[in-house]
């Protein structure tokens, strides 16, 4: 029997720190096209291996291969490329605006654009996403106006959220985008409850829940899984494993011992692990899970394997805890480049058209920014009125809030 002289505490540590050579050998990759595609009504017990493999469609040469390759039209894929490029350009503009002091804070999704953009296209009108602060791609792929998002980021006079929320905590009911909470994980059981309500009402809508690798450690993640499993709720449980939770690598949330997808197994939930930087894989796997949910076959948990290519937020410096060149070494590449290559391979795209679209998008983002800025930015220009601070705490303003508003003199 093995023995230790003394006990010692195991604290997971990433394989490299700043200055080291990037190493992703712990992540677990697989070649494109390898993972099988079970029928949507298969028993989750029959495809437990899919929580450990990696569903990929686009290979390194840009070809769509294997059983998860769908017949998406070239027009759909060009739209997908556009959504991702727009998301990236929007993020870049907002990061710049933050540096210019037009807002306090910003969170970009650089490198993770495919996850939200492709997933959104697999949902139907009326479905509801319960996102985190890093799923702006859901809104952009839904065609939501950039200027409305910017108004929120700037907390200006046109901000529908009346300047109450931190930047990136959007709310857009019409776009199927639930109000984002700053408290990690809380939205997960809410999504399950929304899905349960849809089932109780005999509706045909499904919910889509979002969480990061780090936040899967929250109790609410596990609460959501038990409710989703018990009531077979029509919900997609997305885990965006971008390898990092601020400075903590995924091992600190338990990713060293198991794959996050396998968290679903203890609950008997269908669980898949997929390439989050592969627009085609994200779309195919999302569509599979959506179909399963809509057929009343219950929840699907999907771990999207991706990489947070930028800092956690504008308040963070990742050079302090991971090698600066780690992103460049990420084996699953860049989602925009991969889809672009695929379209070019299919004869449906070219460098010229790409450059032209890029210019269009830059102009579109600039126009939206000018429009939004004309309605004020955080420290400059009109902001929502102080009186609005007292509204919407309750449906009807109670007496004590009316008195407090009078005390403020507004």
């Amino acid at each position: 029997m093995p023995s230790a002289a003394r006990l010692s505490l195991h604290v997971p540590e990433p394989s490299v720190r700043p200055g080291g050579k990037p190493d992703f050998s712990h992540v677990g990759f697989a070649p494109a096209g390898e993972a099988r595609r079970p029928p949507v009504d298969a028993d989750p017990a029959e495809f437990r291996d899919l929580a450990y493999s990696l569903i990929r469609v686009l290979d390194d040469a840009g070809a769509a291969v294997g059983p998860w390759a769908e017949a998406l039209s070239a027009a759909d894929l060009r739209q997908g490329l556009r959504d991702m490029m727009l998301t990236r350009a929007y993020d870049a503009r907002m990061v710049l605006s933050q540096r210019q002091g037009k807002t306090s804070f910003y969170v970009q999704c650089l490198g993770e654009e495919a996850v939200a953009c492709a997933h959104r296209k697999a949902l139907a009108p009326g479905d509801m996403c319960f996102p985190t602060y890093r799923q702006q791609g859901l809104l952009i792929a839904a065609g939501w106006p950039l200027v409305d998002m910017m108004n929120s980021v700037f907390s200006n006079e046109k901000d529908r959220l009346k300047g109450r929320q931190l930047p990136t905590m959007y709310s857009a009911r019409e776009a199927g985008f639930f109000t984002v909470s700053g408290n990690l994980g809380t939205q997960y059981p809410q999504a399950v409850g929304w899905a349960m309500a849809s089932a109780i009402a005999g509706d045909d809508k499904i919910a889509s829940a979002w969480i990061g690798d780090g936040a899967t450690a929250e109790s609410d993640f596990h609460a959501a899984l038990v409710f989703a499993s018990v009531y077979r709720a029509p919900v997609i449980l997305n885990v965006v494993n971008n390898q990092w939770a601020i400075s903590s690598y995924q091992g600190i949330a338990g990713g060293e011992s198991v794959k996050f997808a396998s968290r679903g197994h203890g609950f008997g939930i269908a669980s898949l692990r997929a390439d989050g930087n592969d627009y085609l894989a994200v779309h195919a796997v999302s569509a599979w899970a959506a179909q399963r949910a809509r057929a009343n076959l219950g929840p699907t948990l999907i771990e999207w394997v991706t990489y947070r290519a930028a800092a956690h937020s504008t308040s963070d410096d990742p050079g302090k805890y991971r090698p600066r060149d780690e992103g460049a070494a990420w084996p699953l590449g860049d989602p925009l480049e991969r889809l672009k290559l695929h379209l070019i391979k299919r004869g449906e795209w070219s460098e010229e058209r790409h450059a032209q679209m890029r210019a269009e998008i830059d102009a579109e983002v600039l126009d939206a920014a000018r429009d939004a800025e004309s309605h004020g930015t955080l420290h400059d220009g009109p902001t929502p009125s102080p009186a609005s601070m007292f509204e919407d705490v309750y449906k009807d303003m109670p007496r004590h809030l009316r008195e407090q508003r009078q005390q403020l003199g507004v």
Binding site: M128, F130, D159, R160, L161, K162, R164, Q165, M169, S171, A172, R173, F178, T179, S181, N183, T186, Y188, P189, Q190, A191, V192, G193, W194, A195, M196, A197, S198, A199, I200, A201, A207, S219, D220, A223, A224, V226, F227, V230, E391, D392, V393, Y394, K395, P398, R399, H400
Partner: protein, 332 residues
């Protein structure tokens, strides 16, 4: 009062398909206090069902259901077990409307038995109303009799804001004067045990005068209404007893009117004293009625200790302690 609560749920479930009722042991069995008995049989399993033992999950899914457009009424088996759900209540249910610019809201009711007097020890006796009244965006309600329980619960279910509905469990089966040695009395003979059939409401934010008096105002709610009535009878103090019923929103007008009339104020609650809701009431009375006050405001409350098992009756703010405060208020 159990029947009144069940009746309120029944009335609303019959009238509105959107009302769903769930919680631990709530479905088939009908709840450990029987408040949901028969509802699953009557309305089916998707309208009244058992939930996993996960309070954060219960409130989390209730919020999602509310945001979808249902009117969930979730039961937390004991108020002492609501803390795992505190984040969902404080950061989510109470904030959805505000943070989304009124785009989303969750009209949910969280029912939970509270208070002691049943030898429940420190895990089945707490009165956590102040941890809710401190949270903006929540309404907090606590009935003291069957008539109010039904009318307030119907109001709570129809309300578009999240409502914490505290049910003093010592009152489930009868009024309680705070004398554990006296035989238990059933609700039947109490004038407020009659509940009209069908729908009626007791509006949130309206207090009720339970006993008129000119000497001293007693501000109380829940079980303490009955204890204060007993204390007034036993001391002969001409007390005016105000049953607040709803803590947020609070019926300030009723409080001010009574204290200005009597010039004296005693506040009674079963929850621990420090930072209890009584502190808020005392501050409100001091701010608004200072010049009417002839003697200092007094508070009678649970001691600042966990609720003990064996020493329950030394802990419980019974009629003797309330009576002493009434006499002291009269003396100066």
């Amino acid at each position: 009062m159990v029947e009144a609560i069940r009746d309120a749920l029944d009335v609303k479930m019959a009238e509105d398909q959107k009302v769903v009722v769930f919680g631990e042991d709530v479905g088939y069995f009908g709840g450990v206090f029987r408040c949901t008995e028969g509802l699953q049989r009557k309305y089916g399993k998707s309208r009244c069902f058992d939930a996993p033992i996960n309070e954060s999950g219960i409130v989390g899914v209730a919020i999602g259901m509310g945001a979808y457009g249902l009117r969930p009424v979730a039961e937390i088996q004991f108020a002492d077990y609501v803390y795992p759900a505190y984040d969902q209540i404080v950061s989510e249910a109470a904030r959805l409307r505000y943070r989304s610019g009124a785009e989303f809201f969750a009209p949910l009711v969280l029912r939970m038995p509270c208070g002691g007097g049943i030898y429940g020890g420190q895990t089945h006796s707490q009165s956590p109303e102040a941890v809710f009244t401190h949270v903006c965006g929540l309404k907090t309600v606590i009935p003291s009799n069957p008539y109010d329980a039904k009318g307030l619960l119907i109001s709570a279910i129809e309300d578009d804001d999240p409502v914490i509905f505290l049910e003093p469990k010592r009152l489930y089966n009868g009024p309680f004067s705070g004398h554990p040695d006296q035989p238990a009395v059933a609700w039947a003979k109490h004038p407020l045990s009659e509940t009209p059939e069908g729908r009626y409401v007791v509006p949130l934010g309206k207090a009720a005068v339970r006993r008129e008096g000119k000497g001293v105002t007693v501000l109380c709610y829940g079980t303490m209404v009955h204890v204060s009535e007993a204390a007034a009878e036993e001391t002969g103090v001409d007390a005016e007893i105000l049953d607040l019923r709803s803590l947020i929103p609070l019926d300030i007008d009723a409080i001010v009117a009574s204290v200005e009339k009597t010039g004296r104020c005693v506040i009674v609650h079963e929850a621990t004293l420090t930072s209890g809701f009584g502190a808020e009431l005392a501050a409100q009375v001091a701010e608004r009625c200072f010049y009417a006050l002839e003697t200092p405001i007094r508070r009678v409350a649970g001691w600042d200790t966990p609720y003990p098992h064996a020493e329950e009756w030394s802990y419980f703010p019974g009629p003797e302690r309330v009576g002493r405060a009434l006499l002291a208020a009269m003396e100066g």
